[in-house]
C-alpha cells in the first residue's frame, strides 16, 4: 500500500546559504521531519511529516528555515475545500474518527470582532488609571438576596455592622482565570506554570479532571478542583485541597462527548494523581451516570458542599449549546454558586474533528442569553457567570464582562503564552513545545520558571489594558461594567443578532 493520496500540508523552505548544518532542527523535531546526512554534511527535510508547529523555525540560529503553508495541494475548489479532501483521504486510509486538538478554526462569525466598546467624551469624564484608583478585583460566588445591617454603639461612637452572613467567594485580583486543563492532557511543567502564575497574581487555575499532583498542593489556595464524569483523582482530600469545586458537565470543543486519555500517557505519576492503574486508558463517560436531571445535579452539588463543609463555592461547567439559557437557569436553581460556560471555539487536548467544528454555539451569544434569562428570572445574583471558549485579548475580556459575565477563563491564550503555536496536534502526545505531552524528552522543554513569568506578564498586560479601557469609558470599577451593555455597539450585525446580544448597532444613540 504505497499509494498515499494526501499531500504535505506544509512546505519547509531551507535557505542553504544560511543553513550551517548545526542540526538543532533535527534534535528538536519530535516528528522526525529533519534528517542529517553526515556524508554530505547536509540537512534534509521531509515535508509530509511536518505538522506546522514552527519549533524548528523558532530555534534555528540563522533563520534558515521557513515553514510555509503549501499552496495548491489540490486543485482549488470552493465547495470541496482542501480540508474536506484531506479528511476524506485520511478516513479512506484509516476508517477511523478524525481527531484534532485545540479550538475550532472554522470561519464562523467571531462576535467579539463585531462588537465595539464605548468611551467618554465631554458629557462624562474619562479616568486616567495611572493617576486614579481603578478596581478590577472580582468576586465569584453566590451573592445574598438582600443585606441587613446593624447599628453598633461603642466607645468610639456609632458604627455599622453587616448582619447578613455572606456565601463563600473566590477573590480574583483580575477577572481572568486559567481554565481547566488536566495533568495528563498537559505536562506537569505546564500545570506548575499555571498554578504558580495564578497564585502569584491572585487568581485561580483549574485542575481539569486529572486530579491534583502532590507537587501542586502548595498552590491549593488558588486551585479550582474539578469533578468530572470519570471522577479521576476525586476524594475528600482532593475536594478540600481546592478553593472551589467545579462539576464538569461539558466542554466547548466537544459538547456531549466524554474524554479518553490513552493508556500510554498514563505514566506512574499520572496513575497516582488520577488514582487509576498505570497504563490503563482513562475513559471519562459522556454523561455523569448519576446526573440525568437538574434534581440529580442538585444532589451532587449539595453532596460536594457537604463534603467541603459549606466552605467553598461549588460551580458547574457546561458547554454552550442551543438551550443554554434554560440549562443555566436550572443549574443556578440546583444550587450552583457559579456557572462556567464554554463556547463553540473552546479548546481541547483531543476531540473528534466533526464535533469540534459543528457542535455548540459561540460564547458571545451564550453569555448574553444566559445573563438576560437569569436577570429576567431574578436569580442572576445567585451565581456568577464565567465565560470561556476563545478569549483572545483583553478586549474580549471586557466585552464578555459587559455582555454579562463576571469573569473569564483563558486556556488557549495561556498555552500560547507558554509557547503553543496552535498546530492542533495535542492528541498525538508529541507536542514539540513541551506542553501537551508526557514524553520526558519533550516535557523538559517547558521550564516552569519561564512559563510562570510569561503567564504573569500576560495577566499583567491584559489587566493594565482592561484598566485603560475602563478608564476611557469613565468607569472606575469592573463591577460597574458587568452586564452594562449600553457600553457595547454591534457592527455589521443583523437585527436578530443584535437582539440576542442585547446591544444597539453602532451609530444608534439613546
Amino acid at each position: 500500500m504505497a499509494l498515499k493520496l494526501n499531500q504535505s500540508e506544509f512546505e519547509i523552505e531551507r535557505d542553504e546559504s544560511k543553513c550551517i548544518s548545526c542540526q538543532v532542527c533535527v534534535r528538536q523535531c519530535s516528528n522526525d521531519v529533519h534528517e542529517y546526512d553526515s556524508e554530505q554534511d547536509n540537512v534534509y527535510s521531509d515535508n509530509i511529516k511536518c505538522v506546522g508547529c514552527h519549533r524548528c523555525e523558532s530555534l534555528c540560529p540563522t533563520g534558515a528555515l521557513k515553514i510555509k503553508e503549501r499552496q495548491f495541494q489540490f486543485k482549488p475548489n470552493y465547495n470541496w475545500t482542501r480540508d474536506h479532501l484531506r479528511n476524506i483521504y485520511k478516513q479512506a486510509d484509516s476508517g477511523g474518527v478524525i481527531l484534532t486538538g485545540m479550538g475550532s478554526d472554522k470561519p464562523y462569525i467571531v462576535y467579539w470582532d463585531r462588537i465595539l466598546f464605548n468611551a467618554s467624551q465631554v458629557t462624562n469624564p474619562s479616568i486616567d488609571p495611572l493617576r486614579e484608583p481603578m478596581e478590577i478585583k472580582t468576586f465569584v460566588g453566590r451573592k445574598p438576596d438582600d443585606l441587613e445591617f446593624e447599628i453598633t454603639r461603642g466607645s468610639k461612637g456609632r458604627g455599622v455592622k453587616l448582619k447578613t452572613q455572606l456565601f463563600p467567594q473566590l477573590e480574583l485580583s483580575t477577572p481572568i482565570m486559567f481554565s481547566a486543563m488536566s495533568y495528563g492532557s498537559i505536562s506537569l511543567n505546564a500545570c506548575r506554570s499555571l498554578a504558580d502564575a495564578a497564585s502569584e497574581f491572585g487568581t485561580y487555575y483549574n485542575t481539569g479532571e486529572g486530579g491534583l499532583h502532590k507537587d501542586l498542593y502548595k498552590y491549593s489556595k488558588n486551585t479550582i478542583v474539578q469533578v468530572a464524569s470519570g471522577r479521576y483523582g476525586v476524594d475528600v482530600d482532593y475536594l478540600n485541597k481546592g478553593a472551589a469545586v467545579e462539576i464538569k458537565i461539558g466542554q466547548g470543543a466537544k459538547p456531549g462527548i466524554g474524554g479518553h486519555l490513552p493508556g500510554e500517557k498514563v505514566t506512574s505519576d499520572i496513575s497516582d494523581t488520577r488514582m487509576i492503574p498505570e497504563g490503563t486508558d482513562a475513559i471519562s463517560p459522556a454523561p455523569h451516570h448519576d446526573i440525568y436531571s437538574i434534581e440529580d445535579l442538585a444532589q451532587l452539588i449539595y453532596a460536594l458542599k457537604e463534603a467541603t463543609d459549606w466552605s467553598k463555592p461549588v460551580g458547574v461547567k457546561v458547554s454552550a449549546v442551543h438551550n443554554i439559557a434554560p440549562i443555566a437557569s436550572g443549574i443556578v436553581r440546583a444550587g450552583a454558586d457559579f456557572v462556567s460556560i464554554d463556547g463553540l471555539r473552546g479548546g481541547t487536548g483531543a476531540a473528534p474533528l466533526v464535533i469540534r467544528d459543528n457542535v455548540g454555539i459561540p460564547i458571545e451569544l451564550a453569555i448574553a442569553s444566559v445573563d438576560e434569562r437569569l436577570r429576567k428570572e431574578g436569580i442572576r445574583h445567585k451565581a456568577s457567570i464565567i465565560a470561556a471558549g476563545s478569549i483572545r485579548s483583553s478586549a474580549d475580556v471586557i466585552k464578555a464582562i459587559a455582555l454579562g459575565a463576571d469573569a473569564v477563563y483563558i486556556g488557549t491564550a495561556a498555552l500560547i503564552a507558554m509557547g503553543c503555536h496552535l498546530c492542533q496536534k495535542c492528541y498525538t502526545g508529541k507536542c514539540n513545545w513541551g506542553i501537551a505531552t508526557q514524553d520526558p524528552y519533550l516535557t523538559k522543554r517547558l521550564n516552569p520558571e519561564v512559563g510562570t513569568r510569561r503567564l504573569l506578564n500576560l495577566l499583567r498586560g491584559w489587566s493594565l489594558e482592561i484598566k485603560e479601557m475602563l478608564g476611557g469609558a469613565g468607569i472606575n470599577a469592573i463591577e460597574s461594567l458587568k452586564g452594562n451593555r449600553e457600553h457595547l455597539r454591534g457592527i455589521g450585525l443583523s437585527q436578530r443578532e443584535l437582539e440576542i446580544l442585547g446591544i444597539k448597532h453602532a451609530g444608534e444613540a439613546w
Binding site: R27, Q28, P440, K444
Partner: protein, 162 residues
C-alpha cells in the same frame, strides 16, 4: 565568583550553547561565516552530555583549587586571583595535554587546527553574560554567584527529603 550552572531537568539537548560558543570564539564572530568558512578551526568550549532524555551542558568549573593550573608545565594555565577565572594563555601553551589528563570534568579540549593548544571555557570575560547562557532557549543555563547556587542546592535537597 559568578559561575555557569545548568539545571539539567530543563536542558533540552538542542546544543545551541555549543553553537554560540563556537561563534563567540571564531575570528569573524558571525554565525554563518564562522560555520561556513572557519568550521574546522573552531571548537566549542561547552559540551552537551546526553544519555536518553537526560542531558546537560558542562563547561570548565573554574575550580577553586584547579588541578589544570597545578599540572601545567609551561605556566599557560593560570587562575586570575581577582576574578577566579581559569584561562589558558594560548601563546604560552605548548600542547602537552597535562591539563586534559588531570581535569576531573573532561572539559578541556585539544585544539589542533593551527597550533596545538588547550582550549577551554573562558567565561566570555569580555561579556556581561556568557554567550551560552545568553542563548539558552529554555534558560536552563544560569550565570549566578557560587553561594547562591549552593543555597539553591540545599533548598532542592531539602524539598526532595520532604
Amino acid at each position: 565568583m559568578k559561575k555557569i550552572y545548568i539545571q539539567e531537568e530543563y536542558c533540552i539537548g538542542c546544543r545551541l550553547c555549543e553553537i554560540y560558543c563556537q561563534v563567540k570564539h571564531s575570528k569573524s564572530k558571525k554565525i554563518i561565516k564562522a560555520f561556513k568558512e572557519e568550521k574546522s578551526d573552531i571548537l566549542s568550549r561547552v559540551l552537551v552530555e546526553e544519555i536518553g532524555y537526560n542531558s546537560f551542558a558542562i563547561q570548565c568549573r573554574h575550580c577553586a583549587d584547579a588541578p589544570c593550573v597545578e599540572a601545567c608545565i609551561s605556566g599557560a594555565m593560570q587562575k586570575n586571583e581577582n576574578t577566579g577565572v581559569v584561562i589558558c594563555d594560548e601563546n604560552k601553551c605548548v600542547g602537552c595535554w597535562s591539563c586534559i589528563m588531570v581535569c576531573p570534568y573532561g572539559v578541556i579540549k585539544r585544539n589542533t587546527s593551527s597550533r596545538k593548544v588547550a582550549s577551554k571555557c573562558d567565561l566570555c570575560v569580555d561579556e556581561d553574560i556568557p554567550e551560552c547562557v545568553k542563548n539558552c532557549p529554555n534558560e536552563a543555563l544560569k550565570f549566578i554567584e557560587e553561594d547562591k547556587e549552593k543555597e539553591n542546592q540545599v533548598k532542592i535537597t531539602n524539598e526532595i527529603r520532604k
